[in-house]
């Protein structure tokens, strides 16, 4: 059963289309990984779903359904009550995501004040302590200010805050970039444990393919504002179908096992202002065909679990 359904979402920054006609489904309790080149619109997509995209971003088309509501047509007040209660976000830079002049406690309590006005103060405080404990931070850190916490701790405070109201969906945008792997693992494993316990769904954005494969159930790969392939993590890792996805998987070094040659992807990413005609990847694609320069392939299922936006797949399909 899906908790979030994105259909045909397009987002513009002025004249520039950063997200292009994206379809995405998030199932209950699953971790959906989102990867792709930098600048392919991952963050834009995640923020647009909750209408948190800062100006000059504008949503041009599409629907985002959550439990039957279309988030894009809700009035601000309705949206406000839904936020955090149902959809929480862990932002990319935890350094800047906490209000520098308010203590951790204040910022946690704010969430309860807004969404659980009837909850007694003592209960709120108790819940805050419990939350910090949950993410492995000593509760006496409640009175600390953000600058007094290390990057990892701030990130964990954000996670605690995200879980405060036991939301249905948690969106995490590169929550661990710039942290060392030890810290990264600590945080993610905690998150996964909590997910197992609480049963929420996660949208997880990162550049680190290894991490993504390891932690997510399903992965969507974005290129130039579009989702080009979507498949269960393991099957994507073992056999990607879209040439860009294949290229990505062939580009990262492995820590263990024999050293394998890294293939990389030739060429450079497209300028979003001058996107090539047809399939945006075709100038870099080894198996590009005539049709690729002329028409843009759409994301379509190729088997039960996998969708790909590539003419190669579509022609196969057309043949069958």
């Amino acid at each position: 059963m899906s908790v979030l359904e994105v259909r045909g979402l397009s987002v513009d920054y002025g004249t520039l289309r950063a997200v292009h006609d994206v379809d995405l489904t998030l199932e209950r309790g699953e971790v959906l990984g989102l990867a792709g080149e930098s600048g392919s619109g991952k963050s834009t997509l995640a923020y647009a779903m909750t209408r948190l995209l800062p100006p000059p971003g504008v949503i041009r088309s599409g629907t985002v359904r959550y439990k039957g509501f279309d988030l894009l047509s809700l009035a601000p007040e309705q949206l406000r009550t839904l936020r955090w209660n149902d959809i929480a976000i862990v932002f990319q830079g935890a350094m800047n995501a906490l209000n520098p002049v308010a203590s951790v406690a204040t910022q946690l309590l704010d969430v309860f004040r807004a969404h659980r006005p009837s909850m007694p103060r003592a209960a709120r405080l108790a819940r805050c302590r419990e939350l910090l404990h949950l993410v492995g931070i000593s509760p006496d850190r409640l009175d600390s200010y953000p600058h007094q916490l290390s990057g990892g701790m701030r990130q964990r405070v954000m996670i605690a805050m995200a879980l405060a109201l036991e939301p249905e969906i948690v969106i995490m945008d590169e929550p661990t970039t710039a942290l060392d792997v030890v810290m990264q693992r600590q945080i993610l494993e905690q998150m996964m444990e909590l997910r197992a316990a609480l049963g929420f769904s996660v949208v997880f954005i990162t550049h680190d393919i290894s991490l993504l494969v390891e932690f997510s159930d399903r992965i969507a790969i974005m290129y130039s504002g579009r989702v080009v392939e979507e498949a269960p993590a393991q099957s994507l890792y073992r056999a990607a179908r879209h040439p860009y996805a294949t290229g990505l998987l062939g580009s990262f070094p492995a820590l263990r096992g024999p050293r394998r040659p890294l293939r990389g992807i030739p060429g450079s990413p497209p300028d979003l202002r001058h996107v090539p005609s047809g399939c945006p990847f075709h100038p870099r694609c080894a198996s590009a065909m005539d049709v690729c320069t002329a028409r843009t392939p759409v994301l379509a299922p190729v088997d039960q679990h996998r969708s790909v936006a590539c003419w190669l797949e579509h022609e196969n399909r057309g043949a069958t």
């Binding site: 923020y47 647009a48 209408r51 948190l52 995209l53 800062p54 100006p55 000059p56 971003g57 504008v58 949503i59 041009r60 088309s61 894009l72 047509s73 601000p76 949206l79």
Partner: protein, 284 residues
């Protein structure tokens, strides 16, 4: 690119600039010439009326524009240069130099401006426009220097400054070419602020009778109007135009300042009308 506010400001400023250049030529009368019509309200012959001694107020305002603009610009430039030299050096060099220069700007901040101006004006033989501009800039740089110092402190450890140093740039080049350009917005708005301050101060000085009133400027017009109690005499035409001109000049500068801010701060530029927190849905 340039928004409506800035355009309006620039247009107004250009208008005053034009008057400053051609004012003395297009003035219908010699502003000092005492005509036969004493204290006449505005008429076809005297658009802004006449003074107690029969001078033409319109001509005085026209001719006086140049002095105001010159003082404002010269004082603005000098004060800005001083504040840059002292503020940026203090912030960039740090250590003892910083403490010394900060103390210097603090002293200039607390030393009262009026006596200082009187003292300097007394020492120099001719208290003309340029001198007043110099003196005003002496009293006006300290605040800017403080602001610039604080900004520089935050800039000097930016990676791009370090990176430029790592390529072997000399210190003065770091200051001039790496730090300064990033202060453009601050400097520009400081400059505009100082120009407004200088214009107001010059006019005030003329008004309270400290600055020279040998040359015509709007302050001189107001000085004569006030010392002849124009308002009490009902001669509003003598008092009002110069005051409004000052206000419009100041507003023009402030409007330009809006533009500078938005031009130099990409966040302000791109933020548009949109509201943070609720991305608009505009289906086409």
């Amino acid at each position: 690119m340039v928004n409506a506010k800035t355009r309006a400001g620039l247009a107004l400023l250009g208008f005053f600039g034009l008057i400053a250049v051609v004012g003395p030529w297009i003035a219908p009368y010699d502003p000092s010439a005492m005509g036969p019509d004493l204290l006449q309200p505005p008429s076809g012959a005297h658009w802004f009326g006449t003074t107690m001694t029969g001078q033409d107020v319109f001509s005085q305002v026209l001719v006086g524009t140049r002095g105001v603009l010159v003082v404002g610009l010269v004082a603005g430039v000098l004060a800005t240069v001083l504040s840059i030299v002292i503020g940026v050096s203090a912030g960039f060099l740090g250590g003892a130099a910083d403490e010394l220069l900060s103390a210097l700007s603090n002293i200039f901040l607390v030393v009262p401006a009026l006596p200082l101006i009187i003292i300097v004006a007394s020492f120099l033989p001719d208290s003309g426009d340029l001198l007043i501009a110099v003196v005003i800039s002496l009293t006006a740089w300290a605040w800017g220097a403080r602001v610039l110092r604080a900004q520089t402190l935050s800039l000097r450890n930016r990676d791009y400054v370090l990176a430029a140093r790592a390529t072997g740039e000399r210190t003065w080049r770091l200051i001039v070419f790496e730090v300064l350009p990033n202060l453009t917005a601050v400097i520009a708005s400081g400059f505009v602020g100082t120009v407004i301050f200088a214009v107001l101060l010059e006019i005030t000085l003329s008004f309270i009778g400290v600055a020279s009133i040998s040359n015509w400027n709007w302050g001189t017009v107001l000085f004569w109007a006030q010392s002849n109690q124009a308002l009490s005499q009902g001669a509003w035409w003598w008092f009002v135009p110069a005051g409004l001109c000052i206000a419009f000049l100041g507003t023009a500068l402030a409007l330009v300042n809006f533009g500078i801010d938005e031009y130099a701060n990409p966040r302000l530029r791109s933020a548009g009308r949109g509201k943070v927190g609720f991305t608009p849905v505009e289906r086409s």
